[in-house]
């Protein structure tokens, strides 16, 4: 791979996504290059500025005939990548359905409804239902914190909060414990309760949750249903994440 960076600087390195040639810089992943070029690759656990994770698998793409996660796969000159194909979107829809049925996603009763990236992803992929039998796992709610709510029913284990806390907030509030289907979000505090952690409302970790697992208290329904992010936007609009984050982090918080 080091050979690529040493190429003649005049010939820019490119990858090809669905036939479209896209430039990239050394060190960029396929996702980085795609987003920089305004090409949307579906993703839930990825956020620019945080260490790529590669766990949700929404960003699966095919390079030649091999599957790869676009968010973690380094861009390599000449890669021929399939992204927006019926087969890949079908796989992504199934993965989204898996996320829906392993948790307890009751959209009508969720404050995140309309601002939820999982929901928007499901819309984007044309998901009509969870398809598989629901797991109905019992997961713990933590309402101990005065200003922040943790409802694990909605957690999709994307670890955005884990990374945001470590890498941006300079704290270490969240982690994943357990194995397999029993994996769950834990709080790094003496009793494992949010109130005993050093999480603050101004932390990125308190706002980055793509679903309604981590919510700010006492700000519910300030934006009416119908005027929320994904009532007005498609999840596939590149650069939307920045808008969302600016919007939810109000100056008074």
């Amino acid at each position: 791979m080091s050979a690529d960076t040493k190429q003649n600087p005049i010939t820019q390195n490119t990858i090809t996504i669905d036939g479209q040639e896209i430039p990239f810089l050394a060190g960029q992943t396929i996702m980085d290059a795609a987003l920089a070029a305004g090409v949307y690759i579906p993703h839930l656990c990825h956020r620019q500025g945080l260490t790529p994770h590669g766990s949700c698998k929404l960003c699966v793409v095919d390079i030649a005939s091999r599957s790869a996660s676009a968010c973690t796969m380094p861009a390599v000159a000449g890669q021929q990548i399939s992204n927006n194909t019926p087969a890949l979107n079908e796989a992504r829809k199934t993965i989204t359905q898996m996320l829906f049925i392993e948790g307890n996603h009751i959209c009508p009763s969720c404050e995140k409804c309309g601002d939820c990236t999982l929901q928007a992803m499901a819309y984007h992929l044309g998901m009509l239902g969870g398809h598989f039998p629901q797991f109905f796992q019992r997961r713990e709610v933590d309402a101990s914190h005065p200003t922040i709510m943790l409802d694990r029913d909605r957690c999709i284990l994307c670890e955005l909060c884990v990374r945001a806390s470590r890498e941006v907030d300079g704290k270490d509030v969240f982690a994943i414990a357990g194995r397999g289907i029993n994996a769950h979000l834990v709080v790094n505090s003496v009793r494992g309760k949010l109130v005993d952690s050093d999480l603050e409302t101004s932390d990125m970790a308190a706002h980055i949750c793509p679903v309604g697992a981590i919510l700010i208290k006492e700000h519910g329904y300030e934006v009416p249903i119908g005027q929320r992010t994904f009532d007005l936007h498609q999840v596939s609009e590149v650069g939307l994440e920045k808008t969302i984050l600016t919007k939810v982090r109000q100056p008074d918080e």
């Binding site: 996603h105 009508p108 009763s109 409804c113 044309g126 009509l128 239902g129 969870g130 039998p133 629901q134």
Partner: protein
Amino acid sequence: MSKIRIATTSLAGCFGCHMSFLDMDERLVALLEHVEFNRSPFTDIKHCGPCDIGLIEGGVCNVENVHVLREFRENCKILIAVGACAINGGVPAMRNHFNLRECLEEAYVNGAGVENPQIPNDVELPLLLDKVHPIHDVVRVDYYLPGCPPSADEFLKILGDLLAGKEPSLPQNLLHYD
């Protein structure tokens, strides 16, 4: 041309989907030129005859729901799960966080303002399942119409497609889970 026969029911639901159906308002008149209702709260017909389309609102929470759902499946060529509860259990399925006994004791024994506390056990009452299930856990479902409730436009779109003999589909702007 004979009319398309539709049956509807609400299982563990709130009838909100039915109310939303009626939100078609004057468009109902045009629709009724092509369809007729069999078993449905709209008609008060108690049992399902052979139908083209069955619309099921609500999830499956008790033994009666199972019987009704099976009757619909047996009689309807096409069965559609209508609304959040039919599709994933919805709000009623939030009781799945608790044991059935905990739920019943909260409602009939320990709840605020309960007089003469006892868990009802009359044989007329359908027994509750230990969990509320989406209908596709119990019978084969042909199509899903999400929303809480699905809008009148969604009902019209999916019925319109079926009347036209097309594979039903929802455009992005009609797809919502709330």
